[in-house]
């Protein structure tokens, strides 16, 4: 018996001893939130700064400093829990290298200046660039960590005042495929279900999602659900490497990268073949369509793609699925035909509730929109959607990727309500903004990848980034790094800490971080979460919303930005809310949001909508229809027949390994915050490469030894991790991207999904050598 088995058995043997709580009768929810006055600790609510789960935390303040964090017991998301990042988050605010003042590059050196002077320079330079090169030579690049007011004023400033659609956000790199997936299938963005599904479901199917590390608090809720329903509740892991999640799952199926497309189709094949289609639901609420195939990878500059879809019937769909029998897909994916049938049976069983969860595995995918569509297909065939405990659910990585980027619409083609291409939507936005409608250009300009390519080429000369770190996160980093360093480019960076992006800046604006300002985030489940300013920002650090307002006013847009400093967050949010009136997207009023850890939209008549498109829960659904996918004109969701197509770059004789990049539980994204938290840095000090145990043995690589990875774009030396928390299958490696000294994105490829324009960070080819 190996050690692991032994420990498990030992644990089982003792499982019937010791009750969990020896002292019952305690309700901590009500005893500890006392209004503490005077010299003691005061607790204030806030959403966690880090991931898209959006845990509610209570921040303990003493002597004007944030000194402690605990999970907020009244948060319906986290119910008092947190993860190691959230529970230590306040420590980052006091890192010694916080930016407390603005810096401007003079004679090649960054010199400190008063922030008002830096804002003058930003406004002047932006205006001068527009005068010389036109409106579309300036750009604003934000983030899924932008609060809702940050994103809203950015959109109003760029689209409504300057009159350029050069507005993007890093959520393009993380959630764009989820958005286009939702839009193509349902005609409206964001999940129909919510986290309450967890306590209602019987099956969790995790598509390429290491939830134990990436969405730990939600995963705890999944484990809890299984613990309370032994034998019934199953966690199924579908992944390209073995992770902590795989080990916790009841079943783990490891597939070849990119072949999730084939697996999803094989599941549909089996459901149709075994006649497990929910015909009652299907006939009333679903259309079938096909789109273009062989759609390319966006590798070349000025790549263009437009999908065209057309209706097909069930017979045509069956013919399409005939390429995806379990036996055929076993050959493509490496998952056995039996296992595929097992999976299909879980989805197909009419007496079993199923949720599907995914995040970057499906979104950072050169067929990201397709794989999102394909998982929806499964749920639509069996009618397991928009029901408590049943449904597909796209998880987000950033605290406000939904709230800000997707809902406010800080993307080149978007407006807070609708898209720039639609004249009615432009008129609607212009009216609320109080600007002439002609100012809002009707044509989208650059999505993120194209924006940085334009910067490299010189079509964009001025770029201002806020709350993001593109010089660490862009794929094929070297090109974009060199582009930003070119003559006659002006880079403004708003951040709290030095990063690889501030290293290329001409102006650095010190940012107030998280609870140093007032704001709102929106998490994965359509929940808007407000927080007050809890502590003072250091030095001259300034809220991102206010930075934009200050620059806009300096450029003459005082009428458009009239908000007084005392109430501007509330004022901006209340103005934003006007864009979402109506039962399909109404947002909770600001004063309500202050009272609760968070509230979900659509917020109609003082009530949250937990399951959209279902008449029972969603007041926007036509009475008597049962379900209505009202994003589509005919109220029907669409099954899209999307084929399997290979990745942009696959391993070959010269570069025989797959490279997948991602995160670890200790660090959040580029680590600019979490590495400044002592506990987290000590737990995970540097980037590393996970190598398959057998490969390592064959190549004579031992744990901790340095190895060199090389792709067609770059090379890097990392310490090997063998038999660590993850074990990739043979001929594949995994590297986390948090380490700014080990920039793995110098190796990744800038291939993207032609529909969503989201790059694929999960697949490219490398070779591995001992150093």
């Amino acid at each position: 018996m190996d050690r692991r088995k032994f420990m498990k058995n030992a644990a089982l043997a003792s499982a019937c001893s010791a009750a969990a709580a020896m002292v019952p009768g305690v309700t901590f929810g009500s005893v500890q939130e006392v209004g503490v006055s005077g010299s003691g600790l005061e607790w204030h609510k806030a959403p966690c700064r880090f991931c898209g789960v959006g845990c509610g935390v209570l921040v303990g303040v003493s002597g004007g400093k944030a000194v402690a964090v605990k999970g907020d017991p009244s948060s319906s998301v986290s119910r008092g829990l947190g993860c190691v990042k959230g529970l230590h988050s306040v420590q980052m605010l006091y890192a010694k290298d916080r930016y407390k003042q603005a810096y401007v590059k003079r004679d090649g050196k960054m010199v400190p200046v008063p922030i008002s002077e830096a804002l003058d320079i930003v406004a002047e330079k932006m205006q001068a660039t527009i005068d010389k090169h036109g409106k579309d030579s300036v750009a604003l690049y934000g983030s899924g960590q932008w609060t809702i007011p940050d994103g809203y004023v950015a959109s109003k400033f760029m689209k409504g005042c300057i009159g350029s659609n050069n507005l993007e956000a890093n959520a393009r790199l993380c959630m764009a495929s989820a958005v286009t997936g939702f839009l193509t299938t349902f005609g409206a963005d964001e999940p129909m279900g919510c986290y309450d599904d967890i306590e209602q479901t019987e099956t969790f199917v995790l598509w390429g999602n290491n939830m134990a590390e990436m969405h730990p608090v939600l995963f705890s809720r999944c484990l809890e659900q299984r613990r309370r329903n032994p034998g019934r509740v199953k966690i199924i892991d579908l992944a390209t490497r073995t992770t902590r999640t795989s080990r916790a799952a009841d079943d783990s199926f490891i597939f070849r990268p990119q072949t999730d497309l084939a697996i999803a189709n094989a599941i549909c094949h089996e459901i149709v073949k075994n006649d497990q289609v929910n015909w009652g639901f299907f006939n009333k609420h679903v259309n079938i369509m096909e789109g273009k195939t062989d759609i390319g990878y966006g590798l070349e500059d000025n790549f263009k793609f437009k999908d065209e879809t057309a209706k097909i019937d069930m017979e045509a769909y069956k013919a399409f699925l005939s390429d995806y029998t379990p036996e055929k897909v076993e050959k493509i994916s490496g998952v056995s035909a039996n296992d595929i049938r097992k999976l299909a049976a879980l989805y197909g069983d009419p007496n079993r509730k199923v949720v599907s969860y995914w995040c970057m595995g499906m979104n950072q995918h050169s067929r990201g929109t397709w794989i999102n569509n394909l998982v929806y297909n499964i749920h639509l065939l069996v009618g397991k959607i928009s029901l408590p405990g049943n449904g597909p659910f796209s998880l987000t990585g950033q605290p406000s990727a939904c709230g800000t980027v997707r809902e406010v619409g800080t993307l080149t083609h978007k407006l807070p309500h609708g898209v720039v291409m639609n004249p009615k939507h432009r008129a609607f936005a212009a009216k609320i903004w109080g600007v002439p409608v002609e100012r809002i250009p009707a044509k989208p300009t650059h999505h993120t990848m194209a924006m940085f390519r334009a910067l490299d080429r010189g079509d964009i000369r001025f770029i201002w980034t806020q709350v993001t770190n593109p010089m660490q996160t862009m794929p094929k980093l070297k090109r974009y790094f060199e582009g930003s360093m070119k003559e006659d480019r002006f880079i403004v960076v708003s951040d709290a800490f030095p990063t690889p992006t501030t290293a290329v800046a001409d102006v650095i604006l010190p940012a107030a971080c998280w609870i140093e300002r007032e704001g709102l985030y929106g998490n994965s489940e359509r929940r808007t979460q407000q927080f007050d300013q809890i502590v003072q920002p250091p030095g001259e650090a300034m809220c991102d919303t206010w930075q934009i307002i200050e620059v806009a006013r300096r450029m003459g847009f005082t009428k458009e930005f009239p908000y007084p400093q005392e109430t501007y967050i509330r004022d901006v949010y209340e103005e934003y809310r006007l864009h979402h009136v109506g039962m399909k997207h109404a947002m909770a009023p600001y004063d309500e949001l202050r009272k609760y850890p968070g509230l979900q939209w659509p917020f109609v008549n003082g009530k949250e909508t937990k399951w959209r498109y279902n008449e029972k829960y969603d007041p926007a659904v036509k009475k008597g229809s049962g379900f209505e996918f009202y994003g589509k004109k005919d109220g029907k969701a669409v099954i899209l027949a999307r084929p399997y197509e290979p990745a942009a770059e696959e391993p070959d004789a010269e570069y025989p390994f797959w490279l997948c990049t991602g995160r670890v539980v200790e660090h959040w994204h580029t680590g600019s915050m979490t590495r400044r938290i002592p506990v987290l840095n000590k737990a995970m000090p540097e980037g590393y490469v996970e190598i398959n145990t057998e490969d390592a043995r064959r190549m004579g690589i031992v744990d901790g030894r340095e190895v060199r990875l090389t792709s067609r774009r770059g090379t890097i030396v990392l310490k090997a991790k063998v038999n660590g928390r993850g074990n990739p299958p043979s001929l594949s490696v995994f590297v986390p991207f948090f380490d700014e000294n080990k920039l793995i994105n110098e190796l990744t490829l800038d291939a993207y999904c032609p529909i969503s324009k989201q790059p694929d960070y999960k697949k490219c080819a490398v070779k591995v050598e001992r150093v």
């Binding site: 692991r4 003691g40 008092g80 230590h88 420590q91 306590e199 134990a212 902590r244 202050r594 000590k682």
Partner: protein, 242 residues
């Protein structure tokens, strides 16, 4: 703004739920509890424990048969290392933060079985000549989401973070009265995990663990702040250092 408080009604329901659980634990060996009102709890989840009681019709509580002896030996064997408050706080960023894992662990674990095989019941470990600390929340499944190993000493950049004051010990509302609990009970409902048995922290070990129903006498201090102000942080820390 301070955090939203649980409504009084919810509080009553929760309290009733807990008393029911308490009675079950105290008076029966194996009991079943029917949660009364599922709907009343929808949307309010003040704790995991309540959430279980609320959203789940049947809660099964299994309690081992009681022997005359309490579940723990009360004093460590002679010569064994005792856990001190200093050590206790050295593993936490601040009082109430999740402690780090101070020993080597396999990196691949997630499920609590591995950790619980030692940390559920505790016991003497010859390797360390010490007693394993017992977790106050063995029901939480994903240990490594909060508890991490520390594999290096250094920082990425220096920090100006100030550790907040530590809970003040020895507070009584009247002379001779029972000690008040100076910390929140969130995820620490099991007092005996830290306050009783040979693995208990020596400075805060209870003299009467066999009484078991701690909260009949000891209450969370609602008037005095759970933590002292920042001013005397260092003093208290220095105190612990000694």
């Amino acid at each position: 703004m301070s955090a939203k408080q649980a409504s009084p009604l919810t509080g009553v329901i929760i309290l009733a739920g807990f008393i029911a659980i308490g009675m079950t634990v105290l008076f029966t060996v194996r009991g079943k509890l029917q949660a009364q009102d599922q709907e009343a709890h929808a949307g309010h989840h003040p704790s995991w424990a309540t959430a279980h009681a609320a959203s789940h019709a049947v809660v099964e509580i299994v309690v081992p048969p009681r022997t005359a002896q309490p579940a723990f030996e009360s004093v460590p064997r002679p010569g064994a290392k005792v856990r001190t408050l200093r050590e206790f706080y050295s593993r936490r960023a601040y009082a109430g933060a999740p402690p780090i894992i101070p020993h080597a662990v396999e990196d691949d674990g997630v499920i609590n079985d591995d950790c619980l095989s030692c940390h559920q019941d505790g016991g003497y470990v010859p390797e360390y000549n010490a007693y394993t600390p017992v977790t106050p929340h063995p029901e939480m499944g994903n240990c490594r989401q909060c508890h991490v190993e520390q594999i290096v000493e250094g920082l990425f950049v220096a920090t100006e973070w100030i550790q907040p004051a530590l809970p003040k010990r020895g507070q009584q509302s009247i002379p001779g009265g029972p000690l008040q609990i100076p910390h929140p009970l969130q995820f620490r409902e099991n007092c005996l995990a830290c306050h009783a048995g040979p693995q208990a922290v020596v400075e805060i070990r209870s003299s009467h663990p066999e009484r078991e129903n701690c909260l009949q006498c000891h209450v969370v201090d609602q008037n005095v702040p759970p933590f002292k102000s920042l001013i005397d942080t260092r003093m208290e820390l220095a105190d612990v250092e000694k």
